[in-house]
Amino acid sequence: MSDAANVVDRTPSERVDVCIVGAGPAGALMADKLAAGGHDVVVLEAGKRFDFESRLRRMKRSIRPAYDDLDVWDMGGPRDDFNSSGEIFYPLNHKRVKGIGGSTLHWGGRVARLPEKDFEMQSRYGLASDWPINYDDLQPYYARAERELGVAGVDDNPFAPPREQPFPMEAFPRSYSDSLFEQACEKLDITTHSVPQARNSEPYQDRSACVGYGTCQPVCPSGAKYSADVHVRKAESEGARVIDQAAVQRLEHDDSGETVTAAVYRTPDGETHRQTARQFVLAAGGIEIPRLLLLSESPSHPDGLANSSGTVGKFFMESPYIHLIGQLDRRTRQNLIGLGTMESHQFYTPEEAEPGSFKIEFGLGAGPTPAQLALEQRTPLEGMLDTMRNPTSVGQWSENARNLGGIEWGDDLLANIREQYGNYFSISAEIEVLPRVENRVTLDRSTTDAYGKPIPDVSWNRDPHAERTIERAFEVLESIVDNLDADVREKHRSVLWNGVGHHSGTTRMGTDPGNSVVDPQLRTHDLTNLYLVSSSVFVTSGAMQPTLTIAALALRAADHLASKL
């Protein structure tokens, strides 16, 4: 891995218009748009700049046992220490990546616009709060975000909010296994449709079309799956300066306490630097943004920066997933591609407040692969259940192999794989949670990270609204399976409470400075030149993947900020 820590100049720039913290999609899109507008931009990113060429090796780490999934993107260790104090253990480092590109290096690449109801939970259902903006405000930015990321899709989803134009690329065709479930859904009057993907179904803006490695999550070696290093490169070609391995420790402000003056950051040589700028953008994700604000406490902001409302870090949300997995009496053709091609949003906008929203996804990666069966040799259902519980963990698979007796090889192994591979299915549902004050990110002052700063503590607890929604969602999934034209050999439920890396809500948006952190333009109520661009500003999270909304918000914030420079 070329790290080149010694040769890269990581000292601050002078006369900077905008300093952005974090080079995931939020920071990268902001940097690109502002730099293209002629502004001087510096991006400070805590993680490394990964060589594109290293992706094949990273892919191997993702499919061979003997590697932990954290190894794929070099996560973990003292830099990334965290604590989990809630009812549900929250494995934070499996839910994010630090580096140029941020968590999109690892993400699944499913994208969706939030339907109207997600912005209006209070007025429609009397739940949580409304967003101070609505779908109409974001619609043009969603369209731009789809072009920026490169989204493949087709307008066949009757439950989706209105569109103004076709998707930039054609949709990925449905899978063979979708056809089995489609029939069952038809019997039940459940409408199925395609899945918009930030993944190239054809060459797009100098990036390859998908070639079927099937390892999208956690790494796409071809670059067909969008990751935000794309916009980092664009931003750099527009003149932005992007400094990797520059971990921001705190923000400093002027005597009035109303203006941020500098981002203080540490580099691998042990030096501490101060980047000054006219405007500051935190795009460090839903955990590190509140943490950084809390770490920036000062005499005039004793509870942390931008925290006069006391809500920084509170109302943390994640998306629990449920899975119904099992085996049929026939081949289901799984593990032949890394994406999913069919969903149903029929249950997304309920009439009543409860059960809440859920979104059905039909899986294409059910059950172990032949190579996993060969290398790990454990009962596939055990493995699947573990993997569903923690789908990003390859280490999970290998853990249980330790206690096995002698493994098989040769003809016995072949017979075994033939027996065990091929008949699995999975249907999943993403589940809505509501913002709750006890779900929160705080500082754990008893432990410090590699830089001597208190680590983040995530407190994540079961949500009764989600529990009731889960019950209903399982009923629907079971009814689909019961209506398959196939015998179901076995089926099992599993609930992934700790979610899939959709952290949101921790610095929410609002018009009242008494109960929110940023205004509708994403500027903090308390500091005149500090913007927070992230799912951390979501007021409610729905049951949809967040990143297209993050991208839309980033493009909107970039427009706004450019008008002020």
């Binding site: 499919i63 899978s175 063979y176 079927g212 081949r331 692969t369 192994l413 591979y421």
Partner: protein, 172 residues
């Protein structure tokens, strides 16, 4: 089912080794000694299904490319094969490569390779499991030919395009 050089190249790409680079170097074989190739083929004949042929060509190409991969050294392989050979001589009086596949199977099991947890930095049996048994199985089952044996013609890690997932099973 015939394993080909192409299968080995594709398996290498699933190991993070760019097949293009390997293909170019294939003109100058020679880094891999005959002993290492013979020994590895002898292991492959045990761990691969008997219906698979073409092991030698597959193993040669694979070994050539594998030396490009991270954390893989030919000295390591040579030394593990040596250990296996010593065990074969101790228990049967013959060289590992001279034994029938079924006797070789016994030797590999005696040495603990079937019980050890695969670990590239572990004990000798753990490394045999990792570098020889598992590497070969991985190469086989992440190659299209190996995948086809079990009904998966586009194994994970192999850039086999976007057709396979849309197609139904062969027997339908």
């Amino acid at each position: 089912m015939e394993l080909t050089r192409r299968d080995a190249l594709l398996a290498l790409s699933a190991m993070g080794i760019a097949a293009g680079g390997v293909a170019q170097q294939l003109g100058d074989r020679g880094t891999v000694s005959a002993e290492v190739t013979d020994g590895t083929v002898a292991v492959a004949e045990v761990v691969f299904p008997s219906s698979v042929s073409g092991n030698r060509e597959f193993v040669e190409t694979y070994l050539d490319g594998r030396t490009e991969g991270d954390g893989y050294s030919l000295e390591e392989i040579a030394s593990l094969l040596d250990t296996i050979d010593r065990e074969a001589k101790r228990s049967t009086g013959r060289s590992f490569t001279d034994l029938t596949p079924s006797k070789r199977d016994d030797v590999l099991r005696e040495i603990g390779a079937a019980k050890a947890y695969p670990d590239p930095d572990g004990t000798v049996p753990q490394r045999i499991r990792y570098y020889l048994v598992n590497d070969l199985l991985y190469a086989l089952y992440s190659s299209p030919t190996g995948g086809e044996l079990v009904g998966n013609e586009n194994p994970v890690g192999h850039p086999g395009g976007r057709e396979a997932y849309q197609e139904g099973p062969d027997d339908e």
